[in-house]
Amino acid sequence: MNQITSAIQIIPLEYYIVLSVTLFSIGVMGILFRRNIIAILMCLELMFNSVNLLLTAFSAYHSDPAGQVFVFFIMIVAAAEVAVGLSIVVMMKRNVESVDINLLNRLKW
């Protein structure tokens, strides 16, 4: 227990920033990279989680529990978002028989 709580003082905060930036960039890259709408939703989850990790790290280093409550709310919103997003995926598969977002390119304009 004492060992774990001392981890905050050993690991610099910059490491968490770099880790979160890396994960966020991987999420952005995935959204540009994939055409499968389910994979794009998964990359979106990745980006949500990198932000969650950074908020938790800042909250732990600054001893402010409000940050962790905020992460909790982000999780709530993410759960609602995934439920609606996946039902849109199911509807899309039913209507256009595919999960390819390029078939929906008329949404661009």
Binding site: A7, I11, R35, A39, V69, S87, V90, V99
Partner: protein, 168 residues
């Protein structure tokens, strides 16, 4: 402790890369679950025990299972997974790399913010997070139930089949 941090980070980054580059949707979900479990390890390392448990339950337990269900329901396999052209994929990787560099350069310019509160390692425990949640953030907590209700109504509305009679 540093070793643990680097190990968890390596697992997370590698499995996140697999999420992007692996073609089969089932493999994507599995690697995302590995990534999320490593992230729960990070939360424990930060002594945010409440968040670690909630993360495991909500993300790996609920959201990823939902993804798996949808993938199995839609019967996706490798043959019908669409892929972008080679040029677009290379440009996507380059854009992601440049985005990474820009964010990294931007965070290098930051300066140290001094903590408002004296250091304690106990803020992530369930008792402390619960006190903050139900004192300062009670109204948003209650409003989130309305959000869930509307999300549920929206999901049901999207998910139900259109009546064939109405189409005529």
């Amino acid at each position: 402790m540093i070793f643990l941090f680097f190990m968890l980070s390596a697992i997370m980054v590698i499995s996140a890369l697999f999420v992007v580059f692996s073609k089969s949707p089932i493999n994507n979900v599995i690697f995302l679950i590995i990534c999320f479990i490593a992230m729960a390890g990070h939360y424990i390392l930060l002594n945010a025990q409440f968040l670690a448990v909630v993360h495991i339950i909500v993300y790996t337990g609920a959201i990823m299972v939902l993804f798996l269900f949808v993938i199995m329901l839609l019967n996706l396999n490798k043959a019908i997974i669409p892929q972008k052209s080679r040029l677009t994929r290379i440009m996507a990787v380059i854009t992601g790399g440049i985005f990474f560099l820009v964010l990294l350069a931007a965070t290098r310019q930051t300066f140290e913010i001094h903590a408002r509160y004296p250091f304690t390692s106990e803020i992530g425990l369930v008792a402390n997070v619960g006190k903050t949640l139900f004192h300062e953030f009670l109204l948003p907590f209650e409003l989130s139930s309305v959000l869930f209700l509307s999300a549920m109504v929206g999901a049901v509305m999207f998910g139900k089949k259109d009546h064939p009679n109405e189409a005529e």
